[in-house]
Symmetry: C2
Subunit: 419 residues, 2 copies
C-alpha cells in the first residue's frame, strides 16, 4: 500500500476507541472521522470548496449511482472523481453492494438496515397496507442484476465490474463488492450469501489493477454471531488495506453494538475500520468505543433537507410553528456558518417551508458542521484521555431532553437509514 498509511496516534484506556491518522494520495484523514455522503458526486446543496469553515476532509460517493449516471466512463474521461468534482481531498466510493439491499429486500419490504424502522409491528403494517414496492434486484453467484433507475433495463454488477467502475471513478479508498443482506433474511439465506460475499471478496482482490487506491474488504453475516465471526476472520486474513462492517445490523442499536463487539476484536489493529451507512450521534459514540474509526451516513444532509436540525440538546424540527417568530440562531455557541452569521430560526423555517434551495443549504451547513465538529471533539477527547467523560455527558443531554418532553422534537439522536 505505497500511497497509504494508517497510524494509531492514541488509544483510549477505557474502551477500544483510538485516534489515528490515515494518509491517502489526496491528504491525511484524522480519525475517528465522519464521511458525508455525496451520492451523485455532489454534497447535497454544498459547494465544498467554498465552505472553508466546514471541516470536511473526506466524503463517500456512490458507485451504483455514478455508474448509472453520468457513467464511470464519463468521469474517467474528465480525469476521475477528484477532477470531476473539483475536490483535492480524499474520496471513498462504496461498491454498489448496498443497493442489493436498498433496491432489493429493503425497498420491497420497507425496512432499514437496522433498528426501529424494522420491527415486527412495522413489517406487519407494511404488509397490511399493501405498500410493498417492486424488488429491483436479482442476485446469483456471478453478481447482482439491478433494474436501472434511468431506463428500467436490467444491468449487472459483478465483483470485477464493481472494481473496474471504482477504478474508473478513481476514489482513494474503494470497497469490495458484497451483498448487503436484510434483517428479513433468515440464517440459511444469510449464510449462503456470506459464502458468496467471501468469494466475491477474493475476486475483487484479484480484479484490482490500480495500486494508488486502497481496497477495503467488507464483513457481513447479519445478526448471527457465528457468521459475523466467521466473516471477520475470513475477510481480515485477505490482503485488504482496511475493513468495512456492513449489512444487516439487527433489530435494535443493541444488536448493532453486539455485532461490533464480535467483529472488531477479530480485525487487525493496524488497519482502518469503517462502519458502513451508520452515523447517528449515539451510534458514533458507541461505535468508536468499540474500535470503529470511520463512519458514513446520509442522515445529517437528508434530515437537514426535511428540516430536522441536530443540536446538542437533541434534534429539532425547524418547520414547526413555534419557530415562526424565533430570532435566535439554531443553536447558541454553534460555530457553523448558519449560526455564526446570524440566520434566525424564523428565516430557516420560512425558507424550508417555501422550498427555497437556500434553506436546504443553510440547514445542511449546520447539520454537517455539528457532526464533523463532534468527531473533532471526540478525537481530542481520546487524545486527552477523557473520551468516556465526553461520551457520557454528551449522550446524557440527549437523554434529559428526551425524558423531559417525550416528543419527537427532542428524541434521542440516532440515524436509522441511509440513502
Amino acid at each position: 500500500m505505497p500511497f497509504f498509511n494508517f497510524k494509531i496516534v492514541k488509544k483510549d484506556s477505557n474502551s477500544l476507541a483510538r485516534a489515528g491518522i490515515f494518509i491517502t494520495p489526496h491528504g491525511a484523514i484524522e480519525t475517528p472521522a465522519f464521511l458525508p455522503v455525496a451520492t451523485n458526486a455532489a454534497l447535497k446543496g454544498l459547494n465544498i470548496n467554498k465552505h472553508k469553515s466546514l471541516p470536511i476532509r473526506v466524503f463517500i460517493a456512490n458507485t451504483y449511482h455514478l455508474w448509472q449516471r453520468p457513467g464511470d466512463g464519463v468521469i474517467k474521461k474528465i480525469g476521475g472523481l477528484h477532477k470531476f468534482m473539483n475536490w483535492d481531498g480524499p474520496i471513498f466510493t462504496d461498491s454498489g453492494g448496498f443497493q442489493a439491499f436498498s433496491l432489493g429486500c429493503g425497498r420491497e419490504q420497507g425496512v432499514g438496515k437496522i433498528g426501529s424502522v424494522f420491527t415486527d409491528e412495522n413489517v406487519n403494517c407494511v404488509e397490511k397496507n399493501n405498500v410493498k414496492r417492486e424488488n429491483l434486484v436479482k442476485i446469483n453467484e456471478k453478481g447482482i442484476k439491478f433494474r436501472s433507475f434511468i431506463d428500467g433495463s436490467w444491468q449487472e454488477l459483478t465483483p470485477e465490474k464493481s472494481i473496474k467502475i471504482q477504478e474508473n471513478l478513481g476514489a482513494d479508498v474503494i470497497f469490495a463488492f458484497d451483498e448487503c443482506t436484510s434483517p428479513t433474511h433468515d440464517y440459511k439465506y444469510t449464510k449462503d450469501s456470506l459464502d458468496r460475499t467471501h468469494g466475491w471478496a477474493e475476486r475483487c482482490l484479484k480484479a484490482k489493477a490500480r495500486n494508488d487506491q486502497a481496497l477495503f474488504g467488507i464483513v457481513q453475516g447479519g445478526v448471527w454471531k457465528d457468521l459475523r465471526m466467521k466473516s471477520a476472520r475470513f475477510i481480515s486474513r485477505l490482503p485488504f488495506d482496511g475493513f468495512g462492517i456492513g449489512g444487516s445490523l439487527g433489530k435494535s442499536k443493541k444488536d448493532m453494538y453486539n455485532i461490533l463487539d464480535w467483529v472488531v476484536p477479530l480485525l487487525p489493529e493496524n488497519k482502518q475500520r469503517h462502519l458502513l451507512g451508520i452515523g447517528g450521534v449515539e451510534d458514533i459514540f458507541e461505535g468508536i468505543s468499540r474500535g470503529v474509526d470511520t463512519f458514513d451516513c446520509a442522515s445529517p444532509t437528508k434530515e437537514a433537507r426535511h428540516g430536522t436540525l441536530w443540536t446538542k440538546g437533541g434534534k429539532i424540527n425547524i418547520r414547526k410553528a413555534i419557530y415562526k417568530n424565533d430570532k435566535k440562531p439554531i443553536e447558541k455557541k454553534c460555530g457553523c456558518f448558519t449560526c455564526l452569521n446570524g440566520f434566525s430560526r424564523a428565516y430557516l423555517r420560512h425558507l424550508l417551508n417555501a422550498g427555497e434551495i437556500l434553506g436546504y443549504e443553510l440547514a445542511i451547513l449546520h447539520n454537517l458542521y455539528f457532526v464533523l465538529n463532534l468527531m473533532k471533539e471526540i478525537r481530542e477527547s481520546i487524545i486527552n484521555n477523557n473520551f468516556d467523560k465526553l461520551k457520557s455527558s454528551f449522550l446524557k443531554n440527549f437523554k434529559i431532553c428526551f425524558a423531559a418532553t417525550r416528543s419527537q422534537q427532542c428524541r434521542r439522536v440516532g440515524s436509522w437509514r441511509d440513502d
Copy 2:
C-alpha cells in the same frame, strides 16, 4: 427624500443612456443596475453574503409572496427584510400589482407580459388545447382579491394594504400598488384600469407613513400611445421618489421599445427609472439606450435552474448530450465562481440531470455573474463614451450565433416572462 439621492454621473451623447448613482439607507447602487429576484426573500440557491465575488448590490423581493408566507408581520417582528435575510445592502419590493396579471389573465390565458409568448397563434393554441387555468384574481376600485396559494382563501390587497405590508417588510425602495394589465386586454379595459391605477397611486402616497423608504410610482397604459403618455404625465407629476414602467409591453420587443420611447422622455430626468420584470440582454441594452436605469428579472436564475446558461455567444442548454464529456468551463475568460474554479460543463450537466442542488447553485452563480458583469461593462462604457460600440458589438455576437445555427441553443438572448 432625506435618505435617498439619485445623481447622474454621465450621460451618453448618442442615446438617452446614463450612468448614475442612487444612494439608499443601505448603501449606494451604481446604475444602470440589474436586480436579481428574491421572490421568497431568498435568491434561488444563493447565499448572497457568502459570494463576495458575485457583484450583487441590490435585489427585489416579492410583496405578494411574503405577505402570504411567512407573513409581513413575522418579518416585521424579526426586524424587517434586511435582518430576516441577513443582508445589509439595498432591497426593493414590488407592490403585488404584478400578480393581478400573473395570477389573473396571464395565468388564465397562458401569456406573458410581452413578446413572442403572446401571439395570436399561441393564444389560439392555448384555447384549442383547452389548457386554460383558473383566474385567481378579482379586481375592483377598492383593490385586488387574490386566491391564496397557501390555503385557497380569497384575500384582498388594496393600495393602503400594499403600502402597509411593504412598510412592514422594510425594503429601501417600495412600489405603488397598480394593476398590471395583460396584452389580451382591449383599449377600453386598459383605459379604465389606468384610471384605477392612477387613483391607487394617489392613495399609496397618502398611505405612506415611513420616511426612510423611497416610493416609486408605476406607469401603465398597455400598448396605446395616448394611454402611456397620459400615465407618464400623471404619475410623474405626483411626488414619487422614482418611477417604474410596468404592465403589458406589447406583442414584440419592438412594441416594448416604442412604449419606452413614448414614456421615458416624459419622466423627470433627475429621478430613477425602473423597467419592471424585464432583463434579457437585448432588453437591457435597448432599455438603457432609451433612458432606463434599473431592471429586475427572474430569468437569469430561473433559466439557470433549467440548464440554460448565458454566454457572450448566446444561451446554451447545458443538459444536452454534446456536453457529456466536455471538460471546458461554461465560458472561457468568465470571472464567475463556477468558471474560475474549473467546474466543467460535463459536471454541470451531470448535476442538473441528477437534480442536484449544487448544480442549480453553480448554474445560477454563472448566469447572475454574467448579467451583473454586463451591467458593470455597460456602465463603464457610458462613462467612457463608447456605449454604442459595446451595444453593437455585444448584440452582434448573438446575431451571428443565431444566424449561424438557427437552433434554440444559440437563439438571441431575450427574456419574455418572469415569475
